[in-house]
């Protein structure tokens, strides 16, 4: 399947998956970060400007810190995300899914200097499009990926219905199809879920529309173990 999910095998013998972020959302996160940095710089340049030459020296120090230390500081000590990445729901992790550490974060952010070349992250974009995991050069050297942060997850309940066994034994895949339809039926419009239910006459015995959906919901209730 064509997908941006990255599977991570773990020592416990299971596979976890990360959903990787592509160039567009990462560029947007970078733009937000740039605005944040500029805002900090401008806000502090007003009081520092009063100090004259001393202030201008301190401003250069500030910009140095904002340019080189800001990303690492946030990635390591604030849960893997700079403010820009957080606003886009992104997080930096090691390629094995563990939280990014100081070494990897420093590496990817110092090597940014090359990703930025020849202009506006040209090499970074090139590397990302060639890489299977959307890694820019700094990411490849640091062994990190940028993934979507998991949002709060609500398990969709299968709607209650009178449990009814399906007409015959179903393969695992068929069971999955019925269960998935039942779980999604609340988020779909009635017309659409009825239309979908009507595609399976072998299960519903040729029922159409509302009746077909109800029959499949009953089957789903039976499959997850509810009994009358």
């Amino acid at each position: 399947m064509l997908d941006t999910a990255r599977a991570i095998p773990t020592p416990e013998g299971i596979e976890l998956s990360l959903r990787l972020a592509g160039p567009v959302s990462r560029a947007l996160a970078w733009a937000v970060d740039l605005l944040v940095r500029l805002a900090v710089f401008v806000a502090l340049s007003i009081p520092l400007g009063v100090l004259g030459y001393v202030g201008s020296g301190l401003l250069l120090l500030l910009w140095f810190a904002l340019e080189w230390l800001y990303p690492t500081l946030f990635e390591v000590y604030f849960d893997g995300s700079t403010p820009g990445k957080r606003s886009l729901g992104l997080i930096v992790v090691h390629a094995d899914g563990t939280p990014v550490g100081l070494t990897a974060s420093l590496t990817r952010n110092l090597l940014r200097a090359v990703d930025f070349l020849p202009a506006l992250y040209g090499f970074g974009l090139l590397a990302m499009t060639l890489s299977r995991e959307f890694q820019r050069l700094g990411d490849i050297a640091a062994g990190t990926v940028v993934a979507y942060r998991d949002t709060a997850f609500q398990q969709a309940a299968i709607p209650q219905a009178v449990p009814l066994p399906p007409p015959g034994p179903l393969t695992a895949e068929e069971q999955r199809a019925v269960l998935d339809l039942a779980a999604r039926s609340r988020s779909l419009t009635d017309e659409r879920s009825e239309e979908l239910a009507s595609i399976a006459p072998a299960l519903t015995g040729g029922l159409q529309g509302r009746q077909a959906l109800e029959r499949l919901l009953s089957n789903a209730n039976f499959l997850i173990g509810r009994r009358a």
Binding site: G13, L61, F64, T98, G101, L106, L110, Q155, L223
Partner: protein
């Protein structure tokens, strides 16, 4: 076992694990109840969760349940396998052993970088006084004129274009500029070492030409009394940034028996201490360059003495510190 039985039997345990994860991320405030699971029990609970996830997948339970379990498992994986970043003791260990050891380990690259950087300096500082016109090939006349003023006998503060530039302003500028050059020289290694090669040769060319030019002008005392103080820290730091970059370039060209990406990852981990260390050295250099070097009230012999002491200090640090066991 049906999905519903499975869920009703284990849901409470999953919720306990989720509660532990939630609390492990933040420091527990006073008065809040302790997490439901003892810390010693967590690995066993995590393995149990992994087993449940594997069962749920194998038995084709609903996608939602599998999603819920795999998110829990991912969070558990991150909590259990994520490395903790330690604070101050790590800095101390780095200064007492990590940094000098890393430099000794990569000494071949350091020598190569030094050759590429000091080579042009040596050649040009010898050749330019004999053929001063060459300076105008490298640099525009305007900059050379400025240079003459910065180190002229009438300059109140050496190495400054305007008298008004304060020490603090120059300190900020030196850090902003020099540390960035250091980082860029390192990062240039990703271009198969070409970026690093360019920065080393280019900076060597620039410094060598200027050095030869001031000798030609007869301002050598002013110039060398300015640069001697911070030269040890600054020039060594540039060599280290070159070494770190050359290392990256080398493994990209000759990764040996590994994939290029894998070789690069290892090399980056090994090169990083050099980069962190050289940033610190450039910080010291910037402080000396801003607050000590420009003083015209200090007699040149004293400045040469301080410069020589700096070189001894740097060489002794890389030569001897961190050699003992357990440091």
């Amino acid at each position: 076992m049906t999905q519903q039985e499975f869920e009703s039997r284990y849901a409470a345990r999953w919720e306990e694990f989720a509660a532990w994860l939630q609390q492990s991320r933040t420091k527990r405030p006073r008065g809040q109840p302790p997490p439901p699971i003892d810390a010693f029990e967590v690995p066993a609970r995590y393995r149990e969760l992994c087993q449940h996830l594997a069962l749920a997948r194998d038995r084709q339970y609903s996608g939602d349940l599998i999603e819920r379990l795999s998110r829990l498992a991912l969070a558990g994986h991150q909590a259990l396998y994520g490395a903790r970043t330690r604070g101050p003791e790590r800095v101390l260990g780095f200064l007492r052993a990590g940094f000098p050891r890393a430099v000794r380990r990569e000494i071949a690259f350091v020598w190569l970088a030094a050759l590429l950087f000091f080579g042009p300096i040596a050649v040009l500082s010898f050749a330019v006084p004999r053929h001063p016109d060459f300076a105008y090939v490298v640099l525009p006349a305007r900059i050379l004129d400025e240079f003459q003023q910065m180190y002229g006998d009438s300059a109140k503060s050496l190495g400054r274009k305007r008298e008004a530039d304060s020490d603090v302003a120059m300190f900020g500028f030196y850090i902003y500029n020099n540390v960035r050059i250091g980082f860029q020289t390192f990062a240039g290694g990703l271009l198969f070492g070409l970026g690093t090669l360019f920065y080393l040769l280019f900076n060597g060319l620039l410094i060598g030409t200027l050095m030869g030019y001031v000798v030609h002008l007869g301002l050598a005392t002013n110039f060398f009394s300015f640069v001697s103080g911070h030269s040890a820290f600054e020039l060594t730091a540039i060599c280290l940034s070159g070494a770190a970059g050359l290392k990256l370039g080398y493994v990209l060209i000759a990764p040996g028996r590994r994939a290029r990406a894998a070789a690069l990852r290892t090399a980056a981990v090994e090169a990083l201490p050099l980069v962190v260390g050289l940033a610190g050295m450039l910080l010291i250099a910037a402080a000396i360059e801003a607050f000590w070097s420009p003083r015209t009230s200090v007699p040149p012999p004293l400045k040469y003495g301080v410069g020589a002491a700096g070189w001894l200090l740097v060489l002794a640090y890389f030569g001897f510190v961190g050699r003992e066991r357990g440091a």
